[in-house]
């Protein structure tokens, strides 16, 4: 009874709204200052010619965007970005997906052990990863070079080789990302009922068919989540090995959309141009975001 009375005196919706916003307020404050305001300010800066030091910013309209579209470097960087995405997806989506399938339905034993062990490198700094692989893959005296020499193979100087440099930097990033994706995928694939797989195996359906026709479609929400996170996070993670090992070289062959903005902003001080480039990168990510909310957020809910 009292509840009802209270409802009439205190419009309960408003009071709750107040408490709710109070609870979110601390988050909202830091997001406003360090996320939403910077986002808007970067859009603003992209319309100016500025070098971060000059007291006056010169308004240039969309010129930075036009310059960006005409600069051949933009296309080199975009091509590299696509190469990074392709390699990261191969190593961090396709490879763990197959291993997770095998672990869940083919061998079934040792899941807990593999999960814990594969995740281990995910907690280590990518600067550590970069410096470790710099030595492990050292073309002259590193362990891989020594093994290769045994088979009569000489390692190329990968950090100075177009194309190969992207593959190696992606590999270093994979070292960190693989384990995380592995356990997330294991969660998704674990939701596929065992009976369905058992039935298919009794019917002698080949493993690759079970994988592509049953497991992938039935765990697609997780698959898409990992797909998007691999691209969005992976491209940002790969920044560290680029910065530490190649600084985008040789001749911009290892620069990607993220590193290029950093370079333009803090090495060349093309503040307006860097802002425009950042906005274009984000626009590409927003496309992925639309995918995410279309498929994953409306995905399967096991509880509630």
């Amino acid at each position: 009874m009292k509840e009802i009375e209270k409802k009439q005196i205190w419009p309960i919706v408003n009071r709750n709204t107040l408490i709710a916003y109070g609870l979110i307020l601390p988050s909202l404050l830091v997001f406003s200052v360090f996320m939403f305001y910077p986002l808007l300010y970067t859009i603003y800066l992209s319309l100016f010619d500025w070098n971060m030091i000059k007291p006056v910013k010169t308004f240039v309209g969309l010129q930075n965007y036009f310059v960006l579209l005409q600069d051949p470097l933009t296309y080199t960087v975009l091509k590299n970005t696509l190469a990074y995405i392709a390699i990261l997806l191969l190593f961090n989506l396709a490879a763990p997906y197959v291993l997770v399938f095998v672990l869940s339905f083919v061998i079934k034993r040792g899941q807990g052990f593999y999960k814990s062990a594969f995740f281990l490198p995910s907690v280590i700094s990518l600067v550590v990863g970069s410096i470790l692989y710099l030595w492990i893959l050292n073309p002259v005296s590193g362990p891989v070079a020594i093994i290769a020499k045994f088979f009569g193979i000489t390692l190329p100087i990968w950090s100075k080789t177009q194309g190969l440099v992207i593959a190696v930097l992606s590999l270093i990033t994979t070292w960190k990302v693989f384990g995380y994706n592995f356990i997330v995928l294991l969660g998704g694939v674990g939701g596929v009922p065992q009976e369905v797989i058992e039935a298919a195996r009794l019917d002698n359906v080949p493993l690759h068919r079970i994988f592509f026709d049953i497991v992938v479609p039935m765990s697609s929400a997780t698959g898409i989540y990992v797909f998007i996170m691999t691209i969005v996070q992976g491209l940002q993670y790969v920044f560290t090995p680029i910065k530490v090992i190649t600084q985008g070289g040789p001749d911009n062959a290892s620069s990607n959309a993220i590193y290029n903005v950093y370079q333009e902003a803090f090495t060349l001080y093309h503040t307006g141009y860097a802002s425009a480039f950042a906005i274009v990168t984000m626009a590409l990510f927003v496309l992925l975001l639309v995918l995410e909310f279309k498929y994953v957020e409306k995905g399967i809910h096991y509880e509630n």
């Binding site: 601390p26 910077p38 971060m52 907690v123 710099l134 005296s141 920044f239 990168t281 909310f293 096991y302």
Partner: protein, 272 residues
């Protein structure tokens, strides 16, 4: 036949595992070798173990100061993000208010915003606040991260609503509901979010490299970067020692809390 097939798969998984774990063993083992041995005995364990590299690190860098900086930054970021994410998640799960879905959508969307988009204005803000070359300047921009809200909300959604409604009818306040009823049930998610906040902040490189200039203010990943040279170089074994120092805390934390962490992230991709 079947066992044969399984063994083959275990060999494949084992190879992948060796590839991913051997660098850690390699760093540990090399950090206890003298430089000459690191070149002559690449694969083996140290024949003449030495802690010379570690002593070198301490004499060449204010390592205690650097470790303290890293720890302070990671601790501040962890405490702030864990508390604010828990409060926000609680509001998003147990309250109905105007603009809830839009606000949640906007907050979660920020996970997809690349750091390059906020980097320049944040650099200007930190400069204006006078926090450049100061650990506060490293801490502040790291606080706007929605992953905690996402993960903790996932866990809170599994707490039966009836439990909360019953408590509300008994006139129990929100802070006590959160502390005494909800928190114990979502503790694994809160703890593992906190641990991951700490580890990520400990490893953070992009932002500190922009903000911190003096060695005395450096964090461990920045200090490590000082020892990088593309040829391996004369500092190689010392770099391995710094690597070990940099990764030891995250590894220990992971080993202690791995059950929480694994279960939280295993379910993070399943439920929207």
């Amino acid at each position: 036949m079947r066992i044969d097939k399984e063994t083959k798969w275990h060999i494949l998984l084992g190879c992948a595992l060796i590839l991913s774990l051997s660098p850690i063993v390699f760093a540990l083992s090399s950090s206890f070798k003298e430089l000459s041995e690191a070149y002559s005995n690449v694969f083996g364990l140290p024949q003449h173990p030495t802690i010379g590299n570690y002593i070198q690190v301490f004499s060449r860098l204010p390592l205690l100061q650097i470790t303290t900086n890293t720890l302070l930054i990671a601790a501040a970021v962890t405490v702030f993000k864990t508390v604010t994410s828990t409060l926000a998640a609680y509001a998003f799960v147990y309250f109905n208010f105007k603009g809830k879905n839009v606000l949640y959508f906007i907050l979660i969307s920020t996970i997809f915003i690349p750091f390059t988009v906020t980097m320049i204005p944040n650099y200007l803000t930190i400069s204006q606040l006078g926090f450049r070359n100061n650990i506060l300047g490293v801490i502040l921009p790291q606080l706007s991260d929605a992953t905690g809200i996402f993960l903790i909300r996932q866990a809170m959604r599994t707490v039966p609503r009836s439990l909360i409604e019953a408590a509300r009818l008994d006139k129990i306040g929100h802070m006590r509901i959160l502390g005494d009823i909800v928190f114990p049930l979502v503790k694994p998610a809160v703890v593992s979010s906190g641990i991951m906040f700490f580890i990520n902040s400990w490893n953070e490189y992009v932002w500190p490299v922009l903000i911190l200039k003096d060695k005395a203010n450096f964090t461990l990943p920045l200090a490590l970067q000082l020892f990088i040279s593309s040829e391996g170089g004369t500092d190689f074994t010392i770099a391995m020692a710094v690597s070990v120092i940099t990764m030891i805390i995250p590894l220990l934390l992971y080993i202690i809390f791995q059950r929480y962490i694994i279960s939280t992230f295993t379910s993070s991709g399943i439920k929207g």
